[in-house]
Every structure is written in structure tokens, then in C-alpha cells.
Symmetry: C2
Subunit: 428 residues, 2 copies
């Protein structure tokens, strides 16, 4: 294929006219497709239906430590569930793991909310009493992370994402020289949306940071830690192991959930951090709640049993998802490869394919798709304040639609990327 | 029985010596009984076991509006569950009801936490920016309420509880003249711990308040709204109906949960307030979470069906609990009646019996009981900061122990109340 830029103006005009004709045909189809959110498809949810049978009215309702699952108490979660997540995190389930409700996002929000009102155990003062608060945001990133720090009034600073993780020189420079910088959002494995996994070197650089703020926090959202889509899955170095070596154990809180393993909304979420952090946090959580849903915790333990069980279950998800990601990436290659109008990753896991279209074209592509019946994640959503400075990044979420719909949606998407590019090239 | 005060000193000494002998016999028994927390007993939890059968791997997993219960979304809770709680609250389920996670306490904590960071929709500023914050606390009251306002740094002001509710003259005086007074905790029905229900007049006085703070909030924790223990249950006037008449709909947020209907920790919690309040609150909650556990919401709707179903289920709880409360009150009457060393209520519902012992004796009674193997709620726990100024109130929680254990515990309790009283009368 010839690069669009290498076509002469007449060829560009002809190509654009032809693409617009194709686009009109698409509009006539009256599609109603959605590639906007990272939701599992119904077939993935079906995989977990037997979890609804593991507890019934005849079940013994006691945890291994003897607590009645049905009654109040056990703030930190039942022991067997902490063990399961402790293995997932590679952290100490007795002292470092806390099982929350159904949402790791809530656990993150609550961590920031508590820090605002009370600080962390080693904070000079509650964060709301700081004159200025800043937060580092690797971009493109997860809109719901950014929404939390936006709501609490942080100045969010964009950190470019490279193929091996965030630009660590910039992270180091900013956090080590400015005590107003209180933390950073990270999705270290199969990052939302770029799909990359932080390299060992990047993880070690995180552990070696010496932030100016004593209570600087790496919010390590390991949402996709076992969400592989390949025979050669990525490997993420255990940040806590590295932090123990540098003596910075208090610098990280990590999060995960079964939202994309069992059921979103009906799953179990957990966080893990140093004992010192957790002991302090638990004092405040004990005022917020008497305890989370132990019955659902037990349901998950009984269904998945252990880390091997979780991983075996993820293979079933992979069998459903891998063809969808294959389809997306293949169509991108077939239809956009060589045109030099977009770049993308082929992720080894996670929930997204991130596409960078020509500068200044992302909004136009999303809008063109929408007008032809395909909803994409809003352009800019992957940046703080919804502002993608170069208007270039688009997050594709291929998990929910069936492959047939995905094919139609991707056909339209690739068409719109080309149209927007040619519109730009021919605008003068 | 003769009032202890009317005995002469020698009789008092003899009586005390005899009681101490009985007490030593108790100590020798090596009891391990707990009357400290308002937990349902295992037999009550058994009532709800069939809820674990209503959804299984073969179930249709869609709500009536078509949403997949297993996937993300539906922030405010599924329609059918909002309808159930709307009927319980007597409020509009479309616009005024929000279904949360498993804990109404969390919903309350979150309301205060959000107000601290963001205020309510009609707040002059976030509460954390106020120079001074005060909160009204009817006493004796619920320790976990007081813990929330203590954690966030409110100055808590004791409001005496009368037989018909809080002292409304004092409430009016304080909230109408001091804009630092931001709200009040209320358990309006079968109050924790006194068991009384607010009279119609008290509810109307709440609705007629004109607080100095525009965002003053009545936190109306209707935890025991259908938790009757009598053929002649109390009736609580619907506060929201009264607030609509006075045009003060924004002044109240009400809370309830199924914690003491189905399973504590495995239940469903809800709050209700004016549409204006809820619309504002929901914007912030949408940053905290994508949604709560819809599967458990549906489980509850399918099991209880409607308000009649809930009420029928509460009759089963009553059959278990009424004999326990009878036992407690009968033993109090038999062993302490006429001695003028304690007063108590016979509640028509709820989870507690509140006993006021002789001034300065509550701590001593709790300590005596503990040393003989019976754990009571800590003396002072029913007051802000754990400080009962007259050291007089003790909360008895009769729901968890079996009747036989309750009998032993109450025998000891009545003994200790007498000992502490005689110790006080003979101390000079």
C-alpha cells in the first residue's frame, strides 16, 4: 500500500471520494454497535455461572477460622480469600492483603479520599491541607483513574508511555523535586489502553525512586495481571519484592479484582500494601464498615480454589477473547498497514487495543464512527481532563461485541481513520 | 422489695456481703458469654438460607429493564430493588432511592466523607473548609454513628433522649442559631439503644427546623423500621412526607439495609433523599464505583418479592427474638424492680434493651460482669467519645446468645447492678 502522504493531491481527492461513498453505504446499514467500554461479553460471563451453585441453602456457612460467613465481622476478609489474593499479588496474606467489596476502583477512590481527610500513616498532614496537590498520569491511561484525581482537585501531569512503561526519567525528575507530587497511577501489566507491560528495568526504577513527598504513592492497579491473550504472556516483576530491597515498602498500594475473572459488579476486589500502611488504613475502614460480603468471598474461593484455578479459568476467557483481538489487529494491519495514518500495539493480554491516528484526527474518527452507528470510547478519554493534546489516541474495546459485529465495526473504523487522514492531508 | 437506699447501713452491708458470695459462685462457673453486639443469632441467619437457592447456574440473569446482572453498570441499583426499598422508605424509587453495597453504615460514612470533600449541592463550601464543625448526637445512641463524626473531627454535642425522641427544644436551639451545626444522627424507630420510637410530634418538629446551616442534614438511620417485637408495633411518621409540607426535602437522608433481615455483610443497603441531593451525590459516586452487586440485589428481590414479603419474614425473626427480650425484661423486673437501682425500657422492637444503673456505676457493672465471664457493650459506648457523663447507661444486646445463656448472663448482670449500687451507697 502507498503511504497516503505519498499520493499526489488528485489521488488523495479521488481516494477520499471513494471512501466517502463506502462510508455512506455504512450509514445506510443503520448499525448499532458498541466498542466503547471494557466489558466482558455474555459468553465470558457464562463461564462463571457455576459459581452460583457452590453455595446453597444446605451449605456449611463457616470460614476455615470458624467465623459465620453470614454474620457481622472479619473486616479484612476471610483468611482463605486473603490467601488467594496474597498469591495473586505475591504478598503476605496475613499482614498485607485486604479484601474489599466488589470494586477495586472503589478501593482506589477510598484510598485517595482517606488520604485527603487523614493522610497516610507517614503523611506530614492530611492531603486536603496541602496548598497544592499534583499527580502523575501516564498517558494514554485509564479514564476512571484520572476522574478520581480530578474530582479531588489534583493537578494532573501527563507522563508519556513508552513501549516498556512510563517515561521514568520524567517520573523521577518530577516526584523527587516536588513535594506536591503525591503519587502516580499505573496499570503495570497489559496497560489500559496500550496493552504494554512495564519492563523489569522500569519496575526497578520505580522501586528506586526517592520522592520529595514522604507519602508519595504508586497506585499499582494490577487489573490485568492474569488476563493473558497469548502463548507467550508478558511477565511483570513483583514491585513489592523490589521495594523491600530499596526499603520503600510503603510507597506502593496494589489493587486487583475478579471483575474480569468472574462477574463485574458481582466479584471480589482486593488491595495489598505494607503492613504499616494497612494497619493505619484499617483503623479508618473500621469506622466506614463492619465488613464486606464474606459469602461472596467464600463463593469465589470455593469456585476457583487457588491461583492455579484462577489461571485455568483465564484460559477459558482467552479462548473467547483471543480471536476478537486477532480480528481487530489483523484488520488494522490489512486495512491501515503501510498507509502511515495510524499505529497500534498487538497486546499479549488485557482488554484494549490502543490506536494512535494522525495528529488532530482522533475526535473526527470517533465522530464519524458514531454517525454511522458505532460507539467508540470518546477521543481524549485516555487523557486527564479528557484532553488529548495531540488529539491522536483512540481506545478500542473489542471484548463485548461478537466477532461478526466486531468485523463490521472495525471495517467502519478503518474507513473512518482513512477518511479523517485524507481530510487532514487535503484540508489546505 | 425494699429500695436499697431505704435499708439501714447494717442491712446494706449484709446484703452486699451476701451478693458478693453469689458473685464468687458465678466466677467459679467460668462463663464465656457475650451480650455486647447487636448480632443476629445463628437461628435467625438460618431463616434466610433459602436465599442462596434463588439464583443458580441455570438462572436468567437479566433485570426487568434488560440489564445483565453479571456485567458492569446500573449505578443506582436495579429498578426492582429500588422499588422494594422505595416502598420500605415510603419514597419515590425512581428519583429518590439509591441501592448501595452491603452496609448502610458505609453509605452514611460515605455521605459524611463526601460532604467533607465536596459539600452537598447547596453547601456554601466543602465541610473540610469550615472553621468549625459540630454535630448533634442524641444520647444514649449508636457508637458507630459517633465514631464517624469523631473521625472527621466534629465537635459532638449530646442531646438528651426522652421517651418520645430527642429533646427537640435543644435541637432547635442549637441548629437554628449556629451554622457550624451541620447535622444530627437519628435512629428514629426502636432507637439504638433505648428502643423508643420518635413521636409524630417530634418528627413534625424535625420537619419544621430552620437550621442556620443551609446544608444541615438529618441522618435518619431507619435500621429497625420493620424489626417489630410486639403485636402492637410502634408507628413512625414518614419524615419525608412532613419535609415536603415544610419545603425542607433536602434536610434528610434516610438509610436502611437488610443486614438484620437477611445476612449482615451479605445483605443489601440503601439510602433515600431528595432528587436534588441524590443527583449531586450520584455524580461523585460515579467516580467511586461503576456499580454495586446487582446479583445480590436480585437475590433479595426474588427471595422477599415485596414489602409484604419482607414483613412476613420479620415475623419469623420476631418468633426467635421476642422470647429473648421477654426474658431480659422479666428478669430485670424480678430482680431489680423496686430496688431503685436501675431503670429500663421494654422495647416494642429493635435490637437492644437500654439500662440506666445508679449514677457512677455503669463502668463498675460492666467490669464486674467481665470478670465473671460475661461481656457487655463497654460502658460509655453509647455516648460520643465513649464518655457517659453520668456513667449510668448500659446497652444489653440479647439477640445472639441462646435463651439459656441469656438467663445466666442476666442473672449475673442483675447481681452486678445490685453490688455496684450497694458499693456506692456504702462507700462513705
Amino acid at each position: 500500500m502507498t503511504r497516503f502522504e505519498d499520493l499526489n493531491r488528485q489521488e488523495q481527492d479521488q481516494k477520499l471520494a471513494a471512501l466517502r461513498k463506502d462510508y455512506q453505504e455504512f450509514q445506510a446499514k443503520g448499525l448499532h454497535l458498541d466498542m466503547s467500554r471494557g466489558k466482558p461479553g455474555a459468553d465470558q460471563l457464562d463461564l462463571t455461572m457455576p459459581i452460583l451453585d457452590v453455595l446453597n441453602s444446605q451449605s456449611v456457612m463457616h470460614a476455615e477460622k470458624g467465623e459465620d460467613l453470614r454474620n457481622y465481622g472479619v473486616l479484612e476478609g476471610i483468611h482463605e480469600c486473603r490467601k488467594l489474593f496474597g498469591n495473586l499479588f505475591g504478598m503476605n496474606h496475613e499482614t498485607e492483603v485486604f479484601i474489599g467489596g466488589n470494586s477495586s476502583l472503589s478501593l482506589m477512590y477510598d484510598c485517595i479520599a482517606r488520604a485527603m481527610s487523614f493522610g497516610f500513616y507517614n503523611s506530614p498532614r492530611p492531603w486536603c491541607q496541602e496548598e497544592k496537590l499534583k499527580w502523575l498520569c501516564p498517558v494514554p491511561g485509564y479514564d476512571r483513574h484520572f476522574a478520581i484525581t480530578e474530582l479531588f482537585g489534583f493537578e494532573m501531569i501527563n507522563i508519556p508511555m513508552n513501549q516498556d512503561g512510563p517515561d521514568m526519567d520524567m517520573v523521577k525528575e518530577l516526584c523527587e523535586n516536588d513535594p506536591a507530587v503525591k503519587g502516580i497511577w499505573c496499570v503495570p501489566m497489559y496497560s489500559n489502553p496500550t496493552g504494554i507491560t512495564y519492563s523489569d528495568e522500569v519496575v526497578r526504577k520505580f522501586a528506586a525512586l526517592n520522592p520529595a513527598a514522604p507519602d508519595f504513592k504508586i497506585m499499582w492497579d494490577n487489573a490485568y495481571c492474569i488476563h493473558h491473550l497469548s502463548d507467550h504472556p508478558d511477565h511483570l516483576l513483583n514491585l513489592m519484592d523490589e521495594l523491600r530491597k530499596t526499603g520503600h515498602e510503603d510507597m506502593m498500594i496494589t489493587f486487583a479484582s475478579t471483575s474480569k475473572i468472574s462477574f463485574p459488579g458481582g466479584g471480589v476486589a482486593a488491595m495489598a500494601c505494607s503492613k504499616a500502611n494497612l494497619d493505619f488504613i484499617k483503623k479508618q475502614i473500621s469506622v466506614q464498615t463492619i465488613g464486606y460480603d464474606k459469602i461472596n468471598q467464600m463463593r469465589h474461593v470455593m469456585f476457583y480454589k487457588d491461583l492455579d484455578g484462577l489461571q485455568a479459568h483465564m484460559e477459558k476467557h482467552r479462548a473467547i477473547l483471543e480471536p476478537k483481538f486477532e480480528k481487530v489487529v489483523t484488520m488494522l494491519e490489512e486495512r491501515l498497514g503501510g498507509l502511515d495514518v495510524a499505529s497500534w500495539n498487538k497486546p499479549n493480554g488485557g482488554y484494549f487495543v490502543s490506536v494512535d491516528v494522525m495528529e488532530g484526527c482522533a475526535k473526527r474518527v470517533v465522530s464519524l464512527c458514531k454517525e454511522a452507528g458505532v460507539v467508540l470510547t470518546g477521543a481524549g478519554a485516555t487523557y486527564p481532563y479528557g484532553k488529548d493534546p495531540k488529539d491522536t489516541n483512540i481506545r478500542l474495546a473489542p471484548t463485548m461485541p461478537p466477532v461478526s459485529e466486531l468485523e463490521q465495526a472495525m471495517e467502519l473504523f478503518c474507513l473512518c481513520v482513512q477518511i479523517a487522514a485524507l481530510e487532514k492531508l487535503t484540508e489546505n
